[in-house]
Symmetry: C2
Subunit: 455 residues, 2 copies
């Protein structure tokens, strides 16, 4: 080749057919469960106004937004003084007024406010689309990746939380993955902050606790101290976070011994008791556990928070979400409560791949390939193929008359299930020689028999 | 609301559930046909290296690329002199080294060259993804729109063209749309240019002829003259373009009277004769016609070209494509022949919508909604819902105990098929009151009967 091999931007990926088939298996499974629970699809554009995106994901998030260069002479309005300074942050406003979607939550909030008169509340939507972040690429972290989100907006009922926990359970059961579902409540965390005398530090406490899994208790306590949480408060926090027993036992302990002095804390306990009373009779595959150390970093959560992790492989959460009381407030629509969960398709893929969880027939591509013996046979086979395809079977005719070995090699590489050989003899006798590519077995059958066999 | 209503960038769209359901019906139909013909999915990233994209779509195309602003201090390496000049085209290189996908063809060519050792030839891929163009937005033209492409690469066989014409026919038949499939051959157009003495003007002739449908013969001849095609050549071109009769008659006329002096022209005629001999026995719904005025603007086509148009509504082509002998050459891999067709989902949507082609059950969202009568009934209904959903029926329980009128209104707005009422009496008698939302009819049935009825 004369030129350099072409490449794609770092942190992005091409998906080959073998990967696509598996990815679609995940997306289809997730989508089917979403639909069975009454969630409806929406999509939003890849680009949003930059004003929709900035200020929503913290300083770090703003830095990680991919911005679209404006068309036209975008530097015309900038003065010489300003341009010579090369103050990127100032120039950005002239250079770019659009950015790529950073998650599906903020675009959804924008969507709800923009289409307020076109949707019916409670609005149950799912959304499966890629998002983009200019993060430093590393193993398992990409600059383009897919999120699968559900949200219900406009209903305060805990039934929505129940339903989303059922959805999580159902999806991973259908994917044949073993998980643990951990739930907690921001109101309980708020109550704890209150009783240890650090109400104003609730955000810092949540962010620190959220790292407990990754960094351990020592580092969390260090961070709490750095953030100005008092030594006494940190000491008082420890036994609370390490409460043991069933959900009921923990909730009773919180109610009677720890949180009687906090109104918000008691509300959280009452919500969790109610939630568990709905969940108990439901015979979920993965029984949800109450995990008081679950915090979730995002600060818009206000009630129940949920996360699911693989029990077959050490890895970050496979999905997570919770209740937020004012997500659309950022776009001027206040007091609309919602609850949502986001599934990370890439992590789910990695766990399934590493643990051999993809069913074998997912990997089948074309079911049947006709070998090409030349023009006369081609013209005989085309109408047969037509009938076979109309019955719903995936079938193709190798397009070139090349050596059979080459054609069989193609069928093997493509993981084709069966190969049909129709030469002069078969045409004369009105039969098809069918070869099972897995067993190597061969038989002569009629068209009808072939269709019945392959359906 | 305190703030301005949020908006999205001009030329982009949100898709509401009602639209998504219809769009997914189109995508699913197209995808199913692609799969039945042995095409496999791939996906490429939204962003490509800017060098992959520039110079591939002409000057106009380069101008319409959406570019991604680089991260970091992208103006650090630019001298004061350069920056003061504000020469946007020069600064672009520092500002941006990535761009958004402009079509699916160039990324596919890049993909094939980059993954040469991972794919099996002939490589049959489909790709359904959005593309972005900074075109002036107008009715029916968007800055983000979806393409559905198939390509076979690495096979010279005309069977590929046959197959793609079958695919076009099958897709529109499945969508219940009436179309005409027009085919032509670039080699014939080349032969015509040769015999009228304008071989070097073949590109200009093709571009001009391509507009015949839109602007009429007078404007086309004007353009040909402006582009320097001789008066004599233009005169000689007219009877050729207006040849009438069956494909066979036209091809015979071309072969015997018009193109005997052109080798490439005769090759084109021979290809078309062969193509029609494959197509004739196939009983297509939309019989393909030979249209010598079909040219297709893109200059990488080298053989058969194909387009399909609605016969129910005046509108640009719904799909189009053709044979190209050297698409991957731009990335250094020469002499790999391919053929592909691209379907425009947005235009297909518009035709289907205007002509009421979407089947009614496509618009059904949730099949069954349980009315919420309060906590006791909720807890009774949840396990029923579980069984119903596991049988594959889409079902939900209204999450809040509000007035029944409000709940029924939600069911109506969401186009729910049936509503289940389970109150105290039903719980006592072990039955469900089922209301058909379309007929208004109501009956009391058991859970098993309900599932059987709704499946």
């Amino acid at each position: 080749m004369a030129k350099d091999k072409p490449s794609i931007p770092k942190g992005t990926r091409d998906f080959l057919p073998g990967e696509m088939v598996k990815r679609n298996y995940i997306f289809d499974t997730i989508r089917n469960v979403f639909l069975r629970f009454g969630f409806m699809p929406i999509e939003t554009p890849a680009m949003e106004q930059i004003s929709t995106l900035t200020g929503k994901y913290g300083e770090e998030g703003d830095r990680l937004l991919f911005r679209i260069l404006n068309s036209g002479n975008y530097l015309a309005g900038v003065s010489d003084d300003e341009i010579i300074k090369r103050d990127i942050n100032k120039l950005k406003a002239s250079l770019s007024d659009k950015g790529l979607r950073y998650d599906l939550t903020v675009p959804f909030a924008r969507f709800v406010v923009q289409h307020l008169n076109e949707i019916t509340f409670p609005f149950k939507r799912y959304q499966i689309q890629p998002v983009w972040r200019a993060d430093k690429p590393q193993k398992g972290r990409y600059r383009e990746f897919f999120q699968c989100d559900i949200d219900v907006i406009g209903s305060n009922s805990l039934l929505n939380e129940v339903e989303q926990i059922q959805i999580i359970d159902e999806i991973f059961k259908n994917l044949n993955m073993k998980i643990v579902i951990r739930i907690n409540n921001r109101k309980i965390l708020g109550g704890i902050a209150e009783v240890i005398g650090e109400t104003e530090k609730i955000t810092q406490i949540t962010i620190a606790i959220d790292k407990l899994d990754k960094v351990g208790v020592h580092k969390v306590n260090e961070e709490l101290a750095v953030k100005g949480v008092s030594e006494r408060a940190i000491r008082e926090l420890q036994p609370i976070l390490s409460l043991s027993g069933t959900a009921e036992e923990k909730l009773n302990e919180l109610e009677k011994k720890i949180l009687p002095g906090s109104k918000i804390g008691r509300k959280g306990v009452s919500e969790m008791k109610s939630l568990f009373s709905y969940l108990e009779p439901l015979e979920l595959e993965a029984d949800p556990i109450l995990d008081l150390t679950l915090a979730r970093g995002l600060d818009y959560y206000t009630g129940v928070i949920i996360e699911a992790n693989s029990t077959e492989m050490k890895m970050g959460s496979l999905c997570g979400g919770g209740r937020y009381d004012d997500l659309t407030g950022i776009f001027g629509l206040n007091d609309v409560s919602g609850v949502g969960v986001s599934f990370g398709a890439d992590r789910i893929y990695d766990v399934m791949e590493k643990n051999g969880k993809f069913p074998e027939d997912t990997m089948l591509t074309t079911t049947l390939m006709f070998v090409n013996f030349g023009e006369k046979e081609e013209k005989f086979c085309l109408p047969l193929l037509d009938v076979i395809r109309k019955s719903g079977i995936r079938a193709e005719l190798f397009p070139d008359k090349v050596k059979i070995k080459k054609q069989m090699n193609y069928a093997n590489q493509k993981n084709v299930g069966y190969v049909a050989l129709v030469g002069e003899d078969e045409i004369k006798n009105g039969v098809i020689t069918l070869k099972n590519m897995k067993t190597g077995g061969q038989e002569q059958i009629t068209l009808d028999e072939l269709i019945e066999k392959l359906l």
